[in-house]
Amino acid sequence: MAETKVADQLDSLVSLERGEIDRRIFSDPEIFDLEMKHIFGRAWLFLCHESQIPRRGDFFEAPMGTDNVLVVRQKDGGIKAFLNTCSHRGNAVCRAEEGNVRNFMCTYHGWTFGLDGELVGVPGSSLFYKDKLDRSKHPLRKVAQLESYRGFVFATFDETAPPLPEYLGATGRLGLDLLAERGDMEVIPGIQKFTVKTNWKFTVDNVFDYYHPQITHMSAFALGLIPAPPDNYMEGGAKSETGANLEVPFLPTDLHNVVMVGEYGHAISGPDQDALEVSTGVEPFAWRHNDETQARLGRHGSRVAGHPHIFPTTWVTAGGQLSLRVPREPGVTEIWWFSFRDKNASPEENAALLSSHIHFFGPAGLLEQEDGENWAQSTLQTKGLHSREVPQLLKMGLGTSEVVKDDGLAIIDAPINEHAQLWTYHSWREWLRNPTWEELRERTVPHDRF
């Protein structure tokens, strides 16, 4: 009997009830192709921040699934995005990652495209084409829709996709608000880009994971790089290879978590601000200690101290960075870090912020070095004929939490749990069924209990 296609087994691949995931979703090439088509081919995807392309002719090359698009500042101040492939014979019309141009000239035969992607020049059009070529029919292929939300530029290849604010919903918008509200935000020049041998979903799963820092980032705790509660030590059995009990300072199990799960798969998960500030004695959220910001973030939003995630691959950090996880192959993902600062901050404030951006995440980051290690090894083990049959477990707090719906948000107040990860995988499965937007929305309305 022929093996069943993985796509026909979606129901058995992800189980919200059991909190189990089939490991094959992390390495199967057929699944990867379906993701590119049904998720990255349809979703609103983050391209860049408007501050990266301030002047006319500024461009930034961004990934959309397996395609590369040029995001370009127009003469009239607007923004357009089109595929970086010549309408003649396909050559890339731009081979720089970012820069400024008057137009894009293809280096194959010289077809030239304006900032708006229109074909404005064809060498020898009368001599070679006898003036028969209709230029207006061969512009660069544009994305179907492009919109900005508070300076964050997104695009989709699906012209039937709902407008961006609707796609983001209350949860996704809050995720971006939590970055935009810090001031007059701009991207610091320089996008860190590096390559990890991992499936992109491991990098997403990790965003919400407050169980791992105590072990993964143990060395950073030990050096005081992350503030740790002084008298709480790990129980439950982490023992070193010599048999010694590891005295791990940890985020206490009763640390209050705020989880928000939203339509289409967006989620936020992490400590409640008060719980975090009390337990660690630091106040990293001073920027929101004023009434206006509190009001704009709302009653629930202003308590969030964890990491928001915009489905499928945009992570906003509590420290003011945005990370894009770019799938290149089933087992290869590029991590891109966009780092923000407030245009009106003092040089001292900016220097301190830059230092924290550089020292936490990125390939030399004192935290992310260790994360990449875990993702790569986890991915590797999904390839073994027998290893891949072992399910991924997401059972923490399973079935114990109430979902409260308020202000358009679906909120879970609970100790550290794995609800946001499960929600991401659940939504991922629904996307892969390639439903209509209405169906997708209905199937990703959060349940009442988790």
């Binding site: 030990a222 030399a364 070095q369």
Partner: protein
């Protein structure tokens, strides 16, 4: 007597070249032997250890290729942060380096430039070959711009700017020193 003076100057240059190269070989040996705390000792208190990001840009915009201090970077370290990094390895729980990676630092094309007071400008090329775990392999090639300073303890690194020959980094981490 001018020929003798010229010869003398050449000899001085050769001796200095030898001293600087030996300093780099010693430095490389410390790193490849995982003696990071001894390595940090080679830096001055006011050192600046910096690895900018590199971008693929057109020739016309080559001046924008590297980020500058004050912009994003892979490393932007003072002595304190170098010490923190060295101590992190020593915790025994810095998993990206435990099991430790195996490195080989090859330093070549050492060119001594301007000298002023007790400081020397030195440019060099490097190949850092690294293997990790069973079969991970990274190779980084690039160039370093150092300011070396004569101190009582010998030569010390007062500034090191490292320019990698990669834009999208082809590695999962930079848990090695350059």
């Amino acid at each position: 007597m001018t020929t003798e003076t010229a010869e003398q100057a050449r000899l001085t240059a050769v001796l200095l070249q030898h001293e600087v190269e030996q300093f780099y070989y010693h430095e490389s040996a410390l790193l490849d032997a995982h003696r990071y705390e001894d390595w940090v000792f080679l830096f001055t208190e006011d050192t600046h250890y910096f690895m900018p990001l590199r971008r693929t840009v057109t020739r016309r915009q080559l001046h924008l290729e590297f980020t500058k201090p004050g912009e994003m970077a892979f490393f932007d370290e003072d002595k304190n942060y170098l010490e923190i990094r060295a101590r992190k390895f020593a915790t025994g729980t810095s998993w990206a380096e435990d099991p430790p990676s195996r490195t080989r630092h090859l330093i070549t094309n050492v060119r001594i430039g301007e000298k002023s007071g007790d400081e020397l400008q030195v440019h060099s090329n490097f190949l850092l070959y690294r293997t990790r775990l069973k079969n991970d392999l990274d190779q980084w090639v690039g160039r370093r711009e150092d300011t070396l300073r004569r101190t009582e303890a010998g030569l010390a690194i007062a500034k090191r700017h490292i320019f990698l020959d990669q834009t999208v980094l082809q590695s999962a981490n930079l848990s090695s020193f350059f």
